[in-house]
Symmetry: C2
Subunit: 224 residues, 2 copies
């Protein structure tokens, strides 16, 4: 391939949309930008991807540096979301951003006022087009839950059916019928009973279940 001018690549950046459940609500990890542009606005964590580093490696390094979150251990699932062309992002005038989305539980970012999880239903104003990216990631997540076992990434190793249903409700954004949910979910054969019960408060204890597998699988038929 020949060019009349030397080839110069656009800036490459990586960003992450990291979700977890907090108090039965879907939350996303944000940082407050320390620099221009969008100084002091909340934004998705991310940064520059230099030559010699794959996008996943760069993302892992950057998320660790900026938030303290370790992708390999804190997240139980990650996938590429989309690649955005952005024109205003970089002083050089042109950047391409590869975005990933990941799911986990009990993620504790570094203690810092500029790093926080926000409920997706009450996001602050976000820098760039990050509000749209979060929306897109949420849609992808909803669709992922409906045809895979991805919900495992949000739950502890053992969990009650009420907790499972609550995870679906938090992510789908609407309530589900308890009897139909249990019938339908159990018929998928993704989970099995344990011998343990969970007792909390003045009511009947709940059976604890666990997933047969902690890796992503497609469902035989779609779920809600």
């Amino acid at each position: 391939m020949k060019y009349t001018t030397p080839y110069i690549a656009p800036t490459l950046t990586v960003d992450a949309v990291i979700f977890q459940l907090i108090d039965s609500a879907l939350n996303v990890l944000l940082i407050r930008r320390p620099n221009e542009p969008f100084k002091d606005s909340w934004a998705l964590p991310g940064g520059y991807n230099p030559v010699g580093e794959t996008t996943v490696d760069a993302l892992t390094r950057i998320i660790k540096e900026k938030t303290g979150v370790v992708i390999d251990t804190d997240l139980r699932y990650i996938e590429q979301l989309y690649t955005f062309d952005t024109v205003a992002r970089d002083p050089r005038g042109h950047a391409v951003s590869v975005t990933y989305t990941g799911y986990g539980r009990e993620i504790t970012p570094a203690t810092d006022d500029a790093i926080a999880f926000f409920p997706v239903s009450r996001l602050p104003d976000l820098a760039y087009d990050h509000a749209e990216i979060v929306k897109y990631a949420h849609e992808r997540l909803i669709s992922k839950l409906s045809y895979t076992n991805a919900v495992f990434a949000f739950l502890p190793p053992t969990f009650t059916l009420a907790e499972l249903q609550s995870a679906y409700e938090a992510i789908f954004g609407h309530e589900l019928d308890k009897r139909n949910f249990r019938k339908k979910f159990l018929s998928l054969n993704l989970i099995h009973e344990t011998t343990e019960m969970k007792r909390t408060g003045a009511h009947r204890p709940a059976r604890l279940y666990e997933f047969n597998t902690q890796t992503l699988e497609s469902l035989p038929r779609s779920f809600d």
Copy 2:
């Protein structure tokens, strides 16, 4: 953001997986590589994305230059597929490739022995990991047909139900029951009858239909 070393971006490339039906078979557009690496191997059309040009603009320019295919007019649908990190692709040792997939009909590339459509069921050996990319694009296409009206992009403005069914069969890779197909598809209300009939050969003429809309829409329920 500060770096101790100057920021150098990886090479950015764009590639396209362009599908159309030829003789009731799903075909993909390939070019024979004129240069190393993989000189003389067949490959997906693509090229370098320089700073200042969005990925879609670069792809449009490159596909036009290398194959004569004009994305804006020859394709009736295009979407981003995935972004691949590649290590061996570029002499500089690290490249990121943003891939797109597009659908059309009656696409006629420039006349050149090094540019051709191949049936996906009989691909030649492909350069890089392009065989996997084609496979991934095909899976995406199958899934797209099952929850959207994307099939419109493969069909002429008016078409018979037999042609419609044949398009689904070619892409899904298996046969469908004629009566059930018609009942099910018509119940989606995506198409309507025209007053025209198609007559070919010594048999009853077939009713011609057309799509209500030529833009992508989600189906109320999934189809296959």
